[in-house]
Structure formats: C-alpha cells, structure tokens
C-alpha cells in the first residue's frame, strides 16, 4: 500500500478535508471522575478533540469506555458527584465552570442532543407537539401560533407524515423510529451549532436506523451543524463520520480520519474490534471468514495501574506495556495518533495488521460433507399460525381485533444445520420460538420434532422431548437467577430430568469446561461474571441434557462487539463438536450470515424469503430482503460511500392491521414502479412462497421477485 494512494479515497475525496480556522468545539484533556464507595471511578481520563463546523466526529467504544460520559460533560448534565477537569470550549468560550442557568441558555440552542432510547426520552404525559414547542419557546420569544407553525415545520422536516394530526399525539402513540425523529426535530429546533448523538440508532431496527441516519444527515445539511456521533457500531461510523476517535478505558486510543482508522489501524484494540465484527460483505473460502475475538474484559475503572489498560487482552503485549501507559502519538511522520507502545512495529509492518490476532479455525463436522437432502429433518414447521386477541382499555377491557403474530409459516431444519430466522421487531420471530417450545398443537398448522407431531405427544413423551430442544435467551443478565450459584443453574435441567446429585455435579464441571469456563466457577454467582461469560453459562445450561436442537434467541445482541465474537465462535465450535442443529433468531443479519447455513426472512408473521445463506445474501429476490440488506451499514468507509441505500418508507405495519394482498406492498419500492394491472395483483393476491427458477434452495414470496445485488 503506497502512501500516495491514501491521499485520496475511493470517492476521490482528499484524505484530510484539512479543517481550517478555530474549532467550533474544542475539548482539551477532559477528565471525569466519579466518587464511589469502591474508590474514585475515573470514567474519562484525558480526552481531547476539535470539532469544526459541518464536521462529523465518530466516537467509538464499548460500554463503559467513557464515550457517553464525555458527551454529557459537554452538556453539563453529569450528576453532582462527578468531578470534571480540563477544558471544553465552544467557539472559544469556556463551558466548564458555568452555572446551570448559563448552561441552560447553551443547551438546546448551541448544543443539542439526541439520545439513545427514544422510547423513554420523551415525557410520556405531554403531547409531542407541546414538547417541541417547549424546546422552541425556552430559547426564542415566539407567539403561540408562530411556535406551533415552526413545530409543524420541524415535524415535516424530519419526515413525520401528517404533522397536523401527529402534533397532538402522545409519545406512546409513536413508534420508536418516529420518536427518534421527534428527538431530532427538537434537537434542530434552534439551529444548533453542535448536535451530540449518543447511540441514536442502537435501539432501532435496521431499516429504521437507515431512515434515522438519513434524517440526521438532512438535519445536518439544513443547519450546517457539526455532529458528534457516539456509537459502538463501526458500520454506522464508517458511512457517517469524517473522523473517528476510538475510546478504551476512558481514553482515546486511536484518533484520525475515518479511512485511516479503518484501513490503517495502529492499535491492537481497533484491529481487534474490526476483526471481531461479522461482515455482511465478506465471505471466506468456505463461505465464512473466521472472527478474531478479543479475549478478556475491559479493566475496572477504579485504581487503574500505570500500564496500558489493554495490556491484559493484547496479543502483542510486551514488558513495556505493563510499565507505563502509552501516550496518544503518531506512529510515523504521516500517520494518525494512536496510544500503543508498539505502534512503530505496526506502522513499519514488522507486525502485519492481519496477524495481530491469531485466526481461529472454523470447525467442520462430518455432517458438512453429507448433502442436505440426505440428512434427516429435526424440526419441521408447516403452516404455523398464532393469533392473539387484541384488547383495549385499562378499566373496561374489550376485544377490538386480532394480532396476527405468526400467520402461516413453513420451514424445516435438518441435522447439523443452522437456520437463521431474521426480521425486524414485531415480525413474529419470538412468537414462533415460543410456539415451538410449547410442543403442543398450534392454532393451525403443525410442528414436528424428529418426525413426530408435537400435537400427538403424551405428557410423558413431551417431557422426554424437551430434553432434545433447548433454548438460550437474549439477555444473559435476566435469564440467570441472581441468587442461584451458576453450578445449580446449570444442574437444574439435569435434576428436573431425574439425574442424581453426584452425576449432575460431574456433568456441570464437564459443561463448564466445554463452554470455556473452569469447573470451580460452579459455586460462584451470576453477578461475578461478565456478560459474555454469563451467556456461556446459559449455553452450558442449554446443553446440559445433550439436546439435538438448540434455539438461540438473539444470543449475542446484548453483548459488546469484542465479546460477541467469542460467543459466536463458541457456538460454531459446539455445533461441530456435538452435531447440533441451531435455530438462530436475530435481527443482525451480519451475525446470521456468519453463522447460519440457511436463512429465513420474516415480515409481519410470514416468511418472505428463505434459502441457503449464499443465495439469499448475494442475490436477494424479495424487495424486503433487498431493503433489509441494503440498510445495514458496512464497517468499510469506501464501500459505504459508494453504496446507495434502499430506504423503506414508514414503519412496520401493526400485525393487527395487515394490508390486503401482499402484506409488504405499502412499503415496497418495487410496487411503486409497477403498472396499474401489476399493482392490482399485489393488492388482491397474497403471494405464495415459490422456489426461484434454477435454484434448489431459495424461495421468495413476491409476485415480481427479481434478484438484486445490494451489499
């Protein structure tokens, strides 16, 4: 890679859009310390950056890295027990030390903020319109009519349809995406100079995330504001930011232009982060690229020793790393600053970037060589349906409709195979799982496990059958009893099925080793483990009875990226070692692409596309799958800049109010391009799922299915 190539990127932009003039927001040597009973928690330890007008700075890091705290320090919204030192200057004016009254004049006017969770960020008891009007009237002297007019304008700008009516709605009448739009409307109400975005799309589905990022971009163009984008998602930053700061243990460990960070990382932590995310766009020789997890956990922020905080997790650690904390310095004359003692070796190529982390082998099983058709099915779902009555009213309950959560789906899983079930929240994924786990006759359709109909099982047979189907839940904090030692938790399924105490005890030790923990961990309580370890414990519990099918309900979505990779690799390894079949439910398509053999895409209670991973991801044929894949940001700045996204309008319709004909048609971009006769077909005929021509294992439910490459 020659230096010259790096002066411009693929899109022809200069490498550094050399910022000139005084910075808009200048943060210098910011420290934030919280006093706690355990001692001082040094949440932020020396953050410095300049933000110029119109610029987007991405701050990337895992939970606890201090990225949100540093943003809250800028707004002056940290709790009273926080001690803040350093300097935060807005257009040359020092903000640290200003009182609440003076800061109130800056908050919402010069610096606005968009928070992570739109569901809780709006006051539930006031209408959306009133809350925007309030944001306006705090800073501007406006008549009631003028404020209302401006608020309606803002709602329109951020893409809320029918603002007149929506103005009078309460937050709970809005979807998550809509609420986040309202947050953006409030943020840009007073034409701020800086917008701080703290994980603005983390709580949202991918198609909604794409909409919100678009709305943010529009808002930025409209106001010319600089944006500080805090996120853990390297994909979001790649396409959105001009420069990036990677934070670890309260400090920036690498800072530079976005391309620099992604293509020439100079700090093992950044390298590890980039290597540990499953990619939608990269497939290795055998269809998969192995993930390189970062071992261990971030350090406690109390009593940090004078050493590199990443030393314990770093594969290229040397003695000096444990003696002094590295400064944030450039690795070479033409390089961006990073905080690593070995940055020179990384710069010179003595240590090749792609060999920093040992690349794990993707385990293979004998079953992989057996053609799919010759393997026996372990789980067969036919025409599964689950409808719920919709009740209204807290005081006077009455039935007002039917929620069609799952509305006739078919799929089968064969021995040793992983089926990924993907879709946005509310599409019926979880209901499907619960119906399967119930092992009784569904409302309609059938569930067969190992060729036996669930409906025909006797009570005793059903109990036996449960041994063979186990589940791992999304949130490992909530799915372990905090008062039960983990050994007991793992032994519980064994004891339920009549194992003796001694035998169960032996099995627990064996299971703990199987998932990468130590047998002596059995007597510890869940709170003594990190999120990743807890998820391993949940996996051990699910495997206790030697099941043949494991249902994984979003098993890694609650974990940080670096931890995620370890759990994914473990699941992969266990599948090979124990010959398991997985039903892997996720909203993250990159994870599914990495781990699954086949994938089923759900929309409003139906499967709209199903097939082997390569076919579905490379040649998606249903417009929904295409939009879904296109909405996922890639952790690759050049590709991101070249991609054009398919933006779906609106939200997922309510499963209580399913459109006639094709249920996707009112959000479908293809529908809009059809002629009247064709549109009529979409309106009147419910499409059935049919095999794609020339394909063995790829089917889509669209009248006008057509392959389109989107990644």
């Amino acid at each position: 890679m020659s230096q010259n190539l790096l002066l411009t990127d693929a899109a022809g932009r200069p490498k550094n859009p050399a910022p000139t003039g005084t910075p808009l927001l200048s943060v210098q040597d910011l420290h934030v310390t919280f006093s706690s009973e355990a001692g001082d928690v040094r949440a932020v330890r020396g953050v410095s950056y300049d933000l110029h007008p119109g610029e987007v700075l991405g701050i990337v890091g895992e939970s606890g890295s201090g990225k949100s705290v540093s943003a809250m320090a800028i707004l002056g919204l940290l709790p009273d027990n926080a001690r803040i030192t350093g300097s935060i200057k807005l257009e040359g004016r020092e903000l640290l030390g200003l009182g609440d009254k003076q800061m109130s004049k800056i908050r919402g006017k010069d610096i606005a903020m968009v928070f992570q969770d739109p569901l809780s960020a709006l006051t539930p008891v006031f209408t959306v319109g009133d809350q925007i009007v309030e944001a306006l009237s705090v800073h501007q002297k406006l008549s009631r009519d003028a404020a209302r007019k401006r608020a309606l304008e803002l709602l329109d700008v951020v893409g809320i349809p029918d603002p007149e009516r929506r103005f009078k709605n309460f937050p709970h009448e809005f979807s998550g995406g809509m609420r986040q739009r309202v947050m953006i409307a409030m943020a840009i109400a007073n034409d701020p100079k800086v917008i701080l975005c703290d994980e603005p799309t983390t709580a949202l589905d991918v198609t909604i995330q794409a909409q919100i990022l678009e709305a943010l971009k529009n808002a930025q163009e409209l106001t010319g504001a600089a944006i500080l984008m805090i996120t853990h998602d390297l994909g979001v930053v790649a396409g959105f930011a001009d420069k990036v700061s990677v934070m670890y243990a309260g400090r920036p460990v690498e800072q530079g232009a976005v391309d620099e960070i992604y293509y020439r990382p100079r700090m093992p932590y950044t390298i590890g982060l980039l290597g540990s995310i499953p990619r939608l766009d990269v497939s290795g020789e055998h269809g998969r690229r192995p993930l390189t997890p970062i071992e261990g956990n971030p350090p406690s922020m109390v009593d940090l020793p004078d050493a590199c905080p990443f030393a314990d997790r770093c594969p290229i650690v040397t003695d000096i790393c444990r003696d002094a904390e590295p400064e944030l310095l450039p690795a070479g004359p033409d390089s961006h600053p990073s905080a690593c003692h070995r940055r020179a070796d990384l710069e010179s190529g003595t240590i090749p970037i792609d060999q920093v982390y040992p690349v794990p082998q993707i385990p293979e099983t004998h079953l992989d060589t057996v053609p799919r058709a010759q393997r026996s099915p372990v789980l067969e779902i036919k025409g599964l349906q689950k409808h719920f009555p919709l009740m209204r009213g807290a005081v006077f309950k009455r039935r007002v409709g039917t929620v069609k959560a799952v509305d006739g789906i078919d799929f089968e899983i064969r021995e040793g195979e992983t089926l990924g079930l993907v879709g946005e929240s509310g599409c019926g994924k979880t209901t499907t799982l619960l119906e399967i786990l119930e092992l009784v006759a569904p409302q309609a359709g059938s569930i067969a496990v190992f060729g036996r109909q669930a409906a025909k099982l006797s009570g005793r047979e059903r109990m036996e059958m449960r041994k063979d189907i186990q589940i791992v839940f999304q949130d490992p904090m909530a799915s372990l009893d905090p008062r039960m030692p983990v050994g007991e938790a793992i032994a519980e399924p064994l004891r339920t099925h009549g194992w003796s105490q001694d035998k169960a005890y032996e099995r627990v030790a064996e299971l703990l080793e199987l998932v990468g923990l130590e047998p002596y961990h059995a007597s510890r309580f869940p709170r003594e483990f990190s999120g990743g370890q807890r998820q391993r414990i949940c996996v051990a519990r699910a495997l206790a009875l030697n099941p043949k099918v494991v249902i994984l309900d979003e098993p890694v979505s609650a974990l940080d990226v670096s931890i995620q990779a370890g759990v994914i690799n473990l699941l992969d390894e266990l599948r090979a070692k124990l010959g398991l079949s997985y039903l892997f439910v996720a909203h993250d398509l990159s994870v599914v692409r990495h781990i699954a053999d086949r994938v089923a895409v759900m929309y409003l209670g139906r499967i709209v596309e199903i097939g082997d991973v390569a076919s579905v991801f490379e040649l998606p044929s249903h417009p929904y799958t295409q939009a879904l894949l296109s909405a996922i940001p890639l952790p690759d700045p050049r590709k991101e800049r070249e991609r054009s996204r398919i933006l779906l309008p609106g939200d997922l319709p309510s499963p209580a109010n399913v459109p006639s004909g094709c249920r996707f048609r009112d959000r479908c971009f293809k529908y809009a391009s059809l002629n009247a006769a064709e549109q009529m077909k979409c309106r009147d005929e419910d499409p059935v799922i049919v095999t794609r021509p020339g394909k063995e294992d790829h089917a889509a439910a669209c009248h006008f299915a057509d392959a389109l490459e989107v990644v």
Partner: protein, 327 residues
C-alpha cells in the same frame, strides 16, 4: 361502554350489600345489648328493657337471622333503624357525617399537597441533610400512634395558652366552634382555631406516608431519560423537575392518595375523640360501646361505599393524568 359501567355498578351494589350484611351479622352475634341495661344502677326493669330492645330490633332472644331479615326489610324501605338512644339512625348519620366532613376536608387537601411537595423536594435533595432530617421526622411520626400524637398536641396547646395568657385561650382544642362566637368573621375564626390542632394531628401521619411514596417515585423519575431530554432542551433544573418530573412521578402516588383521602371520610376515630368532635368516628366508638348494631351497620355501609368510590375515582384520576391509560 354503557354496559360496562352498568355491570360494574351492579357489582358494587352486591359488594356493598355483602360487606354490610357481614358487619350486621357479626355485630348482632357478638354484642350483648342486655348487659347495658342490667349493669345500670338500679337495673332497668325487664319490661322496659325488652320493650326498648324490641324497638331497636336488638332483642338477643330473637334468632339473629330473624332480626337480620327485619333489618334488611327496613333498609329496603329506607329505614335504617334506631340507635341505642332510640334516635333515628338516618338522622344521626346525616348530622355526624357533616361533622366529619368539616373536620377532615382541610386535612385531606393539605396532606396530599404537602406530602407530594415534600416527597419531591426530598428526592431532589437525596442524601442531603434536609432529606435525612425529613426522613427522620417521618419515622418518628410513623412510630407515634395518633392516640399519643393527639394528646401531645393538646398538651402543647395548653402550654402555649399558658405562656400567652389572656382571657380566652389562644389555641382551642375542644369541639367545633365556640358557642359564644358571633358574626361571620368571628365564627369563621373560631372554627379555624378549633380546626388547627385536629388538622395537624390528622395531617402529620398522612404527609409522612405520602412523602415517602412520592420520594421513591420521584427518585425513579429523576434518573429518567425524559428529564435529561428536558434539560438538554435548555430547561433549567428546577423547571425541568417541576414541569416534567413531579407531573409524571405523581401518577402512581395519586392512587394511594385517592384511597387514603376518601377513607379518612369514614371517620377519624381517635382524633374526633380526643378533640371532642361528634363525627362518624366518635359515633362508631359510642355505638360499639353500647352494643348498637344498627349504627355499626350503617357506618360499615358508608365505609364500603367510600372504598368503592375511591376505587372508581382513582381509576378516573389515573386516566386523566396519564395519557397512556385510556378508559
């Protein structure tokens, strides 16, 4: 909707009837009204005693169910029977209930408002001196039964009056009004003066109670995202807390406040006794002491009605305060 309301009201009527009947049967079985006559010195002649007991429908020699049937029949015709003094229960009730209303209304309003404000204030100043001090005070009040608190207040009043001196005592602590008070302002002042101590005695406990709940709710709200949003918009801390915080935190507390407030109207037994107000509470104790089944039954009936009103009202208040809940 209409059918729902009718069904619910019908439910209520049945509940009130069951509660009152149980109270009647319990009292009629447990009381020994004859003793009242026999303990007198000289004892009432048997003829007079039975005559009066029959008059009151309280003759223990008649089977309980027979008396109950007679009572139900009377109630159905709007006749609630007679008290132990052979007055009409209805008349006695219509006098006492207003005494109680005059006594507790002010206290109920003051304690709701003060409890919510104090609780919110405490939450904002969590673990500061003022929070600790108020918490400490609240626990002292919790630990002190009203029958200690009320006489204590009376004692304080006596000392204050002594210290101030003058012909008429400054703080009044007996009855509702000075019979000598004249003119509108004179009577109003006298009423307020007589109301002061019982109001304090009633409110302190309620304030302590409400403020604990409001403090807890408020602490949840103070950590909430929407309050942070309000401040990020540029609202000052105080304004954000008052407008967005208290308004939201009060919703769950209102259920509790509604129930407690409505139920104080069933009579403040000890406060009424100590400060000499002849309200429902005093009547209830007197009736129990005199083995008066009819009075006990009517007060129970009234309490049952209040419980149901409180339930309905708290549902309505929640629905009004919280747009997420719709009727």
């Amino acid at each position: 909707m209409g059918a729902f309301i009718v069904r619910r009201l019908l439910n209520y009527v049945v509940l009130v009837f069951v509660a009152t009947s149980l109270a009647y049967l319990g009292a009629a079985t447990a009381f020994h009204p004859k003793d009242m006559y026999l303990q007198k010195n000289p004892p009432t002649p048997a003829v007079v005693m039975y005559h009066e007991l029959n008059e009151r429908n309280d003759n223990p020699d008649k089977p309980v169910l027979e008396r109950y049937a007679h009572w139900v029949d009377g109630v159905a015709h709007g006749d609630f029977g007679q008290t132990w003094q052979l007055d009409s229960v209805s008349k006695h009730f219509s006098i006492s209930v207003w005494v109680t209303v005059r006594l507790v209304t002010v206290a109920a309003v003051i304690s709701a408002v003060a409890g919510i404000l104090i609780g919110s204030f405490q939450a904002v100043r969590q673990y500061k001196f003022s929070d600790h001090a108020i918490t400490f005070g609240s626990y002292i009040i919790f630990a002190m039964p009203v029958f200690v608190l009320a006489p204590l207040l009376k004692l304080v009043a006596v000392q204050v009056n002594k210290a101030v001196g003058g012909n008429t005592p400054l703080l009044q602590y007996q009855g509702e009004i000075d019979p000598d008070a004249t003119g509108f302002w004179g009577q109003l002042f006298s009423r307020a003066d007589h109301l002061l101590l019982p109001t304090i005695s009633l409110s302190l406990g309620l304030i302590a109670f409400y403020s604990r709940y409001q403090r807890g709710q408020m602490l949840d709200v103070l950590g909430s995202d929407f309050l942070r949003t309000a401040r990020a918009k540029g609202l000052s801390k105080t304004r954000a807390i008052l407008k967005h915080g208290v308004r939201t935190a009060v919703i769950p507390v209102m259920t509790l406040v509604t129930y407690s407030t409505i139920l104080t109207f069933a009579g403040a037994i000890i406060t009424e006794r100590v400060f000499g107000w002849n309200g429902l509470g005093s009547w209830f104790t007197d009736a129990t002491n005199h083995s008066d089944v009819n009075s006990v039954a009517v007060i129970t009936l009234f309490s049952a009605v209040l419980v149901l009103i409180a339930g309905m009202l708290s549902d309505i208040i929640t629905a009004v305060l919280d747009p997420r809940v719709r009727l």
